[in-house]
Symmetry: C2
């Protein structure tokens, strides 16, 4: 048994790495290569050669852990204290950039006669911007201090949280199985309460407790401080604990992981863990993208090719309009840059779709649609952003709120 | 399913960490705490509360990966080039320190009427010194440059390799299922050939190829160098690949991992990975010790209490005599320190025993005996070593070969 698992790991890591490097060398985000490696493995002789039709359990667990750690790390980069500093424009950009794609995505799928839960998931998958790709383009162009960049990064922080709330509500509805107003409200309230409770305890109560402990430390030893001597273990405990709790109350496990990351971000001064998660993520996260690729059935792509293109176009246009409207007071040129910069969906859309696939709320064909949408927006955004930035970037001062 | 796994991980990491910290604070190696946490989980209501009677698969895989990464890291600290510099005394200490415990351990178990394969495994589990514990005591006492310390560290390097060869042969025999001279010879030759082939390719051919690539690098780009830009992925591929290969030819997977580490150690200048494995190991290795503890049935301890004490005494005495004889020309006092310093078995004995348990070659009761032996030698060695070092340490110059 362990022989087979080791052999699977050997082939999977090798394939993912080769494709990630190939794509990186032509400036395409490595996750595209990892998904493609997965598609190749899932649709060729490799699938049965690796005995994945019967022994996919370990890969599935690794993929789940990979996405949980990925969300924890994203949460780690989203400290609550940062949220307070994000400006009004960013907030408006984020909210409109969530409302438009969700509403139009949902309406399109419903109008095609799909089940409501599926439409909700597709809408949710179109919500959250994957800011990593945009951030990289901005950094490469040396425009980190432009107004547009500041608004985009700020909006992406709020966007992540809104995306998690939308996913919490949608997955809660899906698990509940019904779509009547009262149940939906209960789930929505539960999801919001969970998020608020964790934020309140993690960023209000705990830091205060920590300060008390710090004061105590001057007089004697403290067991909390000692646990802090191995921050990675504490981070793992919090991450697994909140993920399991989120799962238990019917939300997606990754929401707990994301919140755990946000809580830990408040303690990054005394317990830095971001660096420690880097190699762990380098090991585990590719399994998530591999698994996405393996879950894509090439056959089903053909059926949904037109729908994929339609959803991709809708994802770009609605995000562009929503975010552009939110940023309109900065002038048309800046609004254009921001609208384009918010368009890549990358991993976040995939995460939402795989939650939906996992609980059986979306079909394998619709999953392929979301994968196509994520890949295409990720591929299109960087060149488009470079082009619009060059034409319109203001280079205004970074002071902005 | 993932809810349960996350909850298991939450409880397991939390328990392991709490016990490791408790023991660390009273200067006992944390692995003792992790094993104890496992014994508590495996022998109380927690076992069924966590559904481990049916869903132990993930924990088992994590434990296997933990020990594979642990062996890779030990290999990483055992570069082949180091072996050439180890002195004649260290070599003699290592060889005699392997022969005595193996022979007497084997003879004791055989004389008690146990099967030959079981006796071989118990002998093999008594072979390899776990130098980590001794190294820590030496470091704490500031005696790293004493002759005794140099001999111990040098002997431990060879000891690890001999231990792996013994395990390779024993597990090969066990998998073959027979114990006639020809089969044993075939297995032994295969094991030695595998080890030699990897060492030859990894430390002879590859570094030469690398130097050629380096020369080429001045003129153009090279794909090998580019793979080297993500050394962790390359290390994982090599580690999984050689582990699977070792497994495939009937050796223990960890032997492949150990050799992969040795090979990678030769490239530590251009591709440093030791630091990257630290957090991965901090996450995964405790699962190995937890799993060991969970595999121990308290009930079976009672049956084998006397045998456990006998094997522990034999492990200490035979190592003391073997290593002491090897170091005799340094004088009786130094030989005493070296004999005591080589006595802890720690994780290496446990690894051997869990390979034996995994392939059904040793019984659950005999597994408990090895766990007791490992725990007791680990607990006894530090105070004993401190005492003998204080009484006899020579403080002679570090020049020694």
């Amino acid at each position: 048994m362990i022989d087979l698992i080791l052999f699977q790991l050997f082939v999977l890591v090798l394939m993912a790495r080769i494709f990630a490097l190939l794509f990186e060398s032509i400036k395409i985000p490595p996750l595209v290569g990892e998904i493609l490696a997965g598609i190749i493995i899932g649709n060729t002789f490799l699938y049965s050669f690796l005995h994945l039709e019967t022994d996919i359990e370990v890969l599935r667990v690794f993929s789940e852990l990979g996405v949980i750690f990925l969300l924890f790390t994203i949460g780690l980069e989203t400290p609550f204290s940062e949220l307070k500093r994000v400006g009004r424009t960013s907030t408006l950009v984020a909210i409109l950039g969530v409302v438009f794609p969700f509403a139009f995505g949902y309406l399109l799928i419903i109008s095609l006669g799909h089940p409501q839960v599926e439409a909700l998931f597709i809408g949710a998958a179109m919500v959250a911007t994957s800011v990593g790709i945009t951030a990289r383009v901005i950094k490469d162009m040396g425009l980190t201090h432009s107004i547009e960049a500041r608004v985009i990064i700020g909006a992406a922080v709020i966007d992540d949280i809104l995306g998690m709330v939308v996913l919490a509500i949608v997955s809660g509805i899906a698990v509940g199985g019904t779509l009547n107003i009262i149940d939906t409200l209960v789930v929505a309230v539960l999801a919001v309460l969970f998020v608020l409770a964790v934020i309140y305890v993690g960023t209000g109560l705990l830091p205060r407790a920590r300060n008390k402990v710090k004061a105590k430390k001057r007089t004697g030893r403290s067991s909390l401080i000692k646990f802090g001597s191995s921050p990675l273990a504490l981070a793992l405990v919090l991450c697994f604990g909140l993920s399991a709790l989120a799962s238990y109350i019917g939300l997606a496990a990754i929401i707990g992981a994301f919140l755990a990351g946000m809580v830990f971000a408040e303690f990054s001064d005394t317990m830095p863990v971001a660096e420690k998660f880097e190699p762990i993520n380098e090991f585990l996260v590719p399994f998530f993208f591999l698994y996405i690729g393996i879950s894509v059935k090439i056959g089903s792509f053909a059926e949904v090719a037109i729908l994929s293109l339609a959803i991709t176009a809708l994802a770009i246009v609605t995000k562009f309009i929503g975010c552009g409207l939110g940023a309109y007071k900065l002038g048309r040129k800046s609004a254009t840059v921001i609208g384009v910069g918010m368009s890549p969906r990358g991993e976040v859309g995939l995460i939402v779709a795989s939650v939906g696939l996992g609980i059986g709320s979306i079909s394998s064909a619709m999953f392929s649609v979301v994968v196509a949408m994520s890949l295409l927006t990720t591929l299109i955004a960087p060149p488009l952003l470079t082009y619009t930035f060059r034409r319109t970037a203001s280079g205004k001062s970074m002071k902005f709120s």
